[in-house]
């Protein structure tokens, strides 16, 4: 079971909004054979997950962080993740409900992407591919191959 999980690309998604968690999971359903979504309800859970990874376990290929979360918000989680050498270069996206310039600048400063949460179905249908576009070319190919 562990072996089969390792064959999938892992995406860590932290968001306290259960509806958004469900929508993102559904958006990735067409890539389910190649992607496993790990959900965290806040920044603490996301950091705990990363810090509990053994060296032999794969790190996520992408980390998606909601900004407004209890305990540790997405911006603080981003800063903490970047401090850890193993995760310093993993693509990270701040995924948020408002397109605030100061948040965009914060994301850029910490080498993270910035995506505003979609408002309607037309935007929502594109979101998985927009996320995947932030991954390395090798990961993009491995996710999109043979859907």
């Amino acid at each position: 079971m562990m072996e089969s999980m390792y064959k999938k690309n892992i995406i860590l998604y932290a968001d306290d909004d259960k509806d958004d968690q469900q929508l993102v999971q559904e958006a990735f359903e067409r890539y389910a054979s190649n992607v496993k979504i790990i959900l965290a309800d806040n920044g603490v859970e996301a950091l705990d997950y990363l810090n509990s990874l053994l060296p032999i376990e794969p790190a996520p290929c992408l980390i998606i962080l909601d900004i407004n979360m209890p305990r540790v918000d997405g911006k603080e989680a981003l800063v903490q993740i970047r401090k850890t050498e193993r995760f310093a270069h993993i693509p990270i996206i701040l995924f948020t409900t408002s397109s605030q310039p100061q948040d965009k600048m914060f994301a850029a400063k910490h080498k993270a992407g910035f995506i505003t949460k979609p408002i309607d179905g037309n935007q929502m249908r594109l979101i998985a591919d927009i996320f995947i576009d932030h991954c390395s070319d090798e990961i993009k190919r491995s996710i999109r191959v043979a859907q």
């Binding site: 509806d19 929508l23 505003t116 929502m124």
Partner: protein
């Protein structure tokens, strides 16, 4: 329809077609809060000098209607979600 965002008023917003409304909220809206009401999910955004409450039949997928207001009374159901620090930044 293209919109000069600096000129957007509540009347301008109401006259926009659906896609322009959602695009404007997506690009300019500042999230205030979210609530459930009569089986619908509502999300309130501040857009410049007014507020837009968007009601979803299916959350972030199917919009039922928009409710716009310049009155701060529209904030009342969301007061417990508003963080004072963020308002100061805005």
């Amino acid at each position: 329809m293209s919109v000069n965002n600096n000129d957007v008023t509540i009347l301008t917003f109401e006259s926009l077609p659906y896609n322009s409304k959602t695009q404007l909220l997506y690009k300019e809206g500042i999230y205030v809060g979210k609530r459930e009401l009569n089986g619908l999910t509502a999300v309130l955004y501040q857009v410049h000098s007014f507020y837009v409450e968007i009601f979803f039949m299916q959350y972030r997928r199917q919009v039922k209607c928009f409710h716009v207001s310049e009155s701060t009374h529209i904030l009342n159901p969301y007061l417990d979600q508003i963080e004072v620090n963020e308002l100061i930044l805005v």
